[in-house]
Amino acid sequence: MSVSLSAGTEAPAPERALGSLPSTDAEIRRNIAARRARGAVWRWLFAGALAFGILALATLLCTVVDGAFGLAVYEHSVDPRELSDRSLEELSQPELVEIFRANVSAGLFRRYDRERPLAERSAEDVRELIYERVVERRVVASYGLGESLLRRAAVERETAERHPGGVLEWRSWVSLDFLTRPMSSVPERAGIRTALLGSVWMIALTMLIAFPVGVAAAIYLEEFAGRSWWNRLIETNINNLAGVPSIIYGMLGLAIFVRALEPLTSGRALGAEGVNGRTILSAALTMALLILPLIIISAREAIRAVPSSLREASYGLGATRWQTVWHHVLPSALPGILTGTILGMSRAAGETAPLIVVGASTFIVSDPSGPFSSFTALPVQIYNWTSQPQETFRDIAAAAILVLLALLLSLNAAAVLLRNRFRRMY
């Protein structure tokens, strides 16, 4: 009795302890209204944060499209109309050759003839040559899509001021020509053929290495490994590896594949004529190590999703562990594994930093011919072009980005389709 009494006198009244709780009807209503208002304001802030992210994505895409299309100012040394009374597009092949012979020096003509006889070249080839060597058509300025559409008059005025002889024309920097032409130091004649082929070679080799190893590691961890300290170590290690910056993998590739294993990666040990270790093979090995944790983690998830009743039924029929894995677990987990693999592939396709460190060359004119050729890749080319000061290089960088994004989008779409098509419900 005395205890409760003393507690009652010493402790503050409960209303006090909770601060100022609203007590009157009006206070309660005000309090609720204020809390609701605060809730509404924050709700808009949260939605705004999300909207910012999506807006940023839209702006990014707009910037790229803006750079890849638009007006370009052309100048030429010789007006094509002076070469012939008809337009060059209408002339036949012999007529074009004649114009070419008449307008370049004899030495230059002989050089081109020796490279490949002009009589054997197609009309398009010769026309291209005339544009390149006689007309000397070049882009002297370019404008983004937005500027070209919205401020056309100002663009025309500026062109007339700065480039009196210039002709303003629409130009799409990404085109079929752009995809099939090799590298060039002149931006408007440069293409991404070598970069695209380099990327394809590198990705194919990377997957050839990373897919079997990654799936095997996942099988080991899920089906064979127990809970020993060694397996826990592998597991933690894979999670940590996924967080290592990609440029560190590049350093690893540089020291081991490019330098220490040079005889192998340059192909000299295998009888190929390699110059140095900066080859597609080195890049693919480096990239394989980079995406291995990704593939292992996603393959493990796919394998874990296979119900154990399937395994137990197989064991019950007398199958060994490997037979169970090979005939039952793997086929069921395959769609999931492939989805993860494709996502790893798109990561490899967009990754730039390790390739730069491993030594992708930025200026290569000839197509890569095998794992031992030096190479360049699409993202490396984008990096190189973006870092050039001239405006026109930025335009072709934007065009190359569009190609890269299209490639990645189709890879990701394939992954989603695969997931939906083959999803099994247990």
Partner: protein, 319 residues
């Protein structure tokens, strides 16, 4: 004819006789497969060992040089390999400044987006908005570098602060763009943590009269705090290790400055620029790159370990 005696199969009775040996047999094939799988699993360990070995070995060569000391490396304010000045502070400060700017963008926006997705959005809206954010995460970083250089610097920073204030290459543009790049990572990891909080907690809060905001901020977020903090730490580690955005937009050339509108080269940007050029193996420049990479590795690895520890230590487990 007995049912088991079809062509090609032996009658089961054979095995039940005294001659049948049902003991476990050594299976050589299984053993080989097991060993192969183990090797594939061990490759990840080899990778880690390889990274650590290479970085330490080359860095060891670097610090063994007479002109280099560890003290000068950690406290020097000039990085100029041509005149044998190796102080990592300018590179480190640029890395930390760009990362801090990135986090200032990514943490509030990422967390806000995560709370919206998990607490406010209808399932239908979420099924559209979440993949849209994930596209943002899938864009290669070199594209963000292009974006920083051709949009963020001229159209945002120079438009607001003036051309004379903001250099063409600057840390602010790189940091902002990096923040946009990391935003989906923070949003998606935090959203996972928030969605994992059981409904009963929210219902309990509503039952006590909490508004949606109060339930979200005072109940759900504290319950998911381990996952959210882990997301922040992983984001910092991503920002520190990010290369292409800073290589394109932050500047080429180390400079010790705290003004975000000036150009300064980060650790990753320096490695990319130097190793992209012609570099002779074994030279001081070559080994110095590995010393920088080692610093970078120690920082990101430490952050990843801390994030793992946070998740384990502060995780709230619900049935």
């Amino acid at each position: 004819m007995e049912p088991g005696a079809r062509a090609g199969t032996r009658p089961l009775a054979r095995y039940n006789g005294a001659g049948a040996d049902l003991r476990r047999r050594p299976r050589i094939g299984e053993g080989i497969v097991h060993a192969l799988l183990l090797i594939c699993g061990a490759i990840s360990i080899l990778t880690t060992v390889g990274i650590v070995y290479i970085l330490f070995q080359e860095a060891w060569l670097f610090f063994g040089l007479p002109e280099v000391t560890l003290g000068a490396f950690l406290t020097g304010t000039t990085w100029a390999p041509q005149i044998n000045e190796f102080g990592i502070l300018p590179l480190l400060s640029a890395t930390l400044i760009t990362s801090a700017i990135a986090m200032a963008v990514a943490v509030p926006l990422g967390l806000g987006a995560a709370i919206y997705l998990s607490e406010y959005a209808t399932p239908r809206a979420r099924s559209v908005l979440k993949p849209a954010l994930e596209i943002l995460a899938g864009v290669p970083t070199v594209v963000y570098g292009y974006f920083a250089l051709t949009f963020v610097t001229p159209a945002v920073l120079q438009a607001i602060f003036g051309r004379d204030q903001v250099q063409i290459y600057n840390m602010a543009a790189a940091g902002l763009t990096m923040g946009i790049m990391i935003l989906p990572l923070v949003a998606s990891m935090s959203e996972d943590a928030l969605s994992a909080v059981p409904r009963a907690l929210r219902e309990g809060a509503y039952g006590l009269g909490a508004t949606r905001l109060e339930a979200a901020l005072q109940v759900v977020v504290p319950a998911a705090i381990s996952g959210i903090i882990a997301a922040f730490i992983v984001a910092v580690s991503r920002a520190i290790g990010e290369t292409m955005i800073v290589a394109l937009a932050a500047g080429a050339g180390p400079s010790f400055t705290f003004n975000p509108f000036q150009a300064a080269e980060t650790m990753t940007g320096h490695i990319a620029r130097i190793s992209g050029g012609d570099i002779s193996y074994g030279s001081v420049q070559y080994t110095s790159l590995f010393a920088i990479a080692l610093t970078l590795f120690v920082m990101t690895f430490g952050l990843n370990v801390v994030s793992g520890w946070v998740v384990r230590r502060f995780r709230e487990v619900y049935e």
